[in-house]
């Protein structure tokens, strides 16, 4: 059986702890992208509260033993939003803060997109959208074959679900009643070129996932108390796959990046970097 959650759910001081961890991660996200002068800050900042909530509560992993066979699997299918993942892995001790300086740098563990062959704590080499849910399905089916309680969590972007292969996986997961497969969709409304509604309308995501037989939960993806509660609800579903649709703001926490398509994949200049550090509470105004 799975051990107790790594944080005590619902207690106010734990929520504050998670919020502070998310703040630290935001700082590191901006630092990484600024240092590399490349990368994807917008989707990293929109996903980070969800990642912190997940790793801080329901996900059963061991930072000191990243390849522990009994771990829950986590797949960052939106693999370009790697700064968020790396910042959290460093905060939790899977990798070092020194490792964060290798983001997009020759020989570094922090490859441009998350890569299982390079970075401890990364379960799938992502970077091509629409692949993670199928991989997570395979991990979940393996757990079932093993008679294990392991679960597989997959984080996708909202633009990502435009990939048809996502729906192959969604259909298969329901067909096989894979109750240990969990998806999170970071619904920030922006994709590479523009807003999703301009590029390709997503319609009613909740109705679509429900029509594929999934349990659907929605949450404000920046309210940590709500995130923790919603994750617990999604985690408890065991008769069918479950998805958490999280409403988020792309670039959350840095004013000029918020809801701005230009910062899907662009780095701040020096002046913008200083502004971000102030806004994120890292340096005094």
């Amino acid at each position: 059986m799975k051990g107790p959650p790594t944080a005590l759910l619902g207690m106010s001081h734990d929520i504050a702890m998670l919020e502070e961890r998310a703040r630290r991660c935001r700082v590191e996200i901006v630092r990484m992208v600024h240092r590399a002068q490349a990368g994807h800050p917008g989707g990293s900042l929109s996903e980070i509260d969800l990642l912190v909530g997940l790793y801080g509560t329901v996900l059963n992993v061991r930072p000191d033993e990243p390849s522990w066979p009994g771990r829950d699997r986590f797949v960052l299918s939106k693999g370009h939003a790697s700064p968020g993942m790396y910042a959290l892995l460093a905060d939790l001790g899977f990798i070092t803060h020194e490792d964060l300086t290798t983001y997009r740098v020759k020989g570094g563990v922090c490859q441009g997109h998350v890569d299982m062959k390079w970075c401890p704590g990364v379960d799938f080499s992502a970077g091509s959208l629409g692949m993670g849910l199928s991989f997570g399905l395979g991990c979940a089916l393996a757990a079932r074959l093993d008679g294990s309680q392991r679960k597989a969590w997959v984080m996708m972007g909202d633009g990502e679900v435009q990939e048809g292969s996502v729906w192959e996986a969604a259909m298969a997961a329901h067909h096989h009643s894979v109750g240990n497969l969990k998806a999170i969709v970071d619904v920030n409304g922006i994709q590479n070129d523009d807003f999703c509604e301009v590029q390709m309308q997503l319609n009613d995501l909740a109705a679509t996932w429900a029509s594929f037989g999934w349990s659907v939960t929605t949450v404000d993806g920046h309210n940590m108390a709500d995130i923790v509660e919603a994750l617990a609800k999604v985690d408890a579903v065991d008769d069918r796959p479950a998805v958490l649709l999280a409403s988020t703001v792309k670039g959350k926490g840095v004013s000029y990046m918020e809801n701005n398509p230009a910062f899907h994949g662009a780095a701040p200049n020096n002046e913008q970097f200083e502004t971000a550090m102030v806004e994120l509470g890292e340096v005094a105004a």
Binding site: M116, M131, S134, A140, L141, D146, A169, M171
Partner: protein, 311 residues
Amino acid sequence: MSGMAATRDGYGKALLELADDSRVVVLEADLGKSTKSQVFRKAHPERTISCGIGEQNMLLTAAGLASSGYVPFASTFAIFTERAFEQMRNGVARPGLRVHLCGSHGGTHTGTDGSSAQSIEDLAIYRTLPGVTVMHPADEVSTRLLTKQLVDHPSPSYTRTARNKTPLLYEGREEEVIIGKGIVHSEGADVGIVACGVMVSKALEAAEALASEGIQAMVVDMHTIKPLDGALIDAIVERCGCLVTAEDHSVIGGLGGAVAEHLAANKPAPLERVGVPDRFGESAEAEEMLEIMGLTVHDVANAAKRAMARR
């Protein structure tokens, strides 16, 4: 040659023989009846995963299983594996996950379904993926043996099988069938004929025809296209000084391409490539397709003479 059988039947038999290994799981995309994975499904439904008509999901579900310690065998038609090429590239080969993909009904020999079903580029595209083993066995026995060897193979793989029956070549020669090792059929010294799949038996017939004209050919079954048995190619060059490749696949990038690359990088020698010219197929019976594409015994023998003339 004693009897005929389809290589895809060898695949199904191998899966069944591997079933005692609890790591083995089988994935299907609604073509298990055709690829013969249904042989495994009937005996072990609990370890068979239907992916519906969804090849992209199948490849990555297999990757997830492989990352968790299982040895997945996934199959569909060769042509439909190509729809999931990027999944094979990014989700299987790049992380080096030991997924074994089988594409049945490969080549124009597939016949009357026509060009949409005749994969003529599968060997070429999978050969470009780092660390992926690529095979195209000639008969049912070697397909069974090579597939069984994959269970402990250290890398992902792609194996092409065929729809229609081909002559049995390896009954009683089972120990010669090893991944990565070409199989020598005759020791002639005038010309080397390196073939795979259905063209191995055609090459053997061509060697007989050439012998009646006093030409002694060295025939090799190069069932493993990657990694190529370069030492054997070097030995053929040393012995014969010229080569022919024969495959039911585009002349671009498959066995002929692999041998040409090896020759160019090592010891150059005249090479004639018998294969599907740069065109798509059409509907016709299997043997008719080989005639249309210039893949007959006669074509192989003529190519051998051309190669010798260039020596």
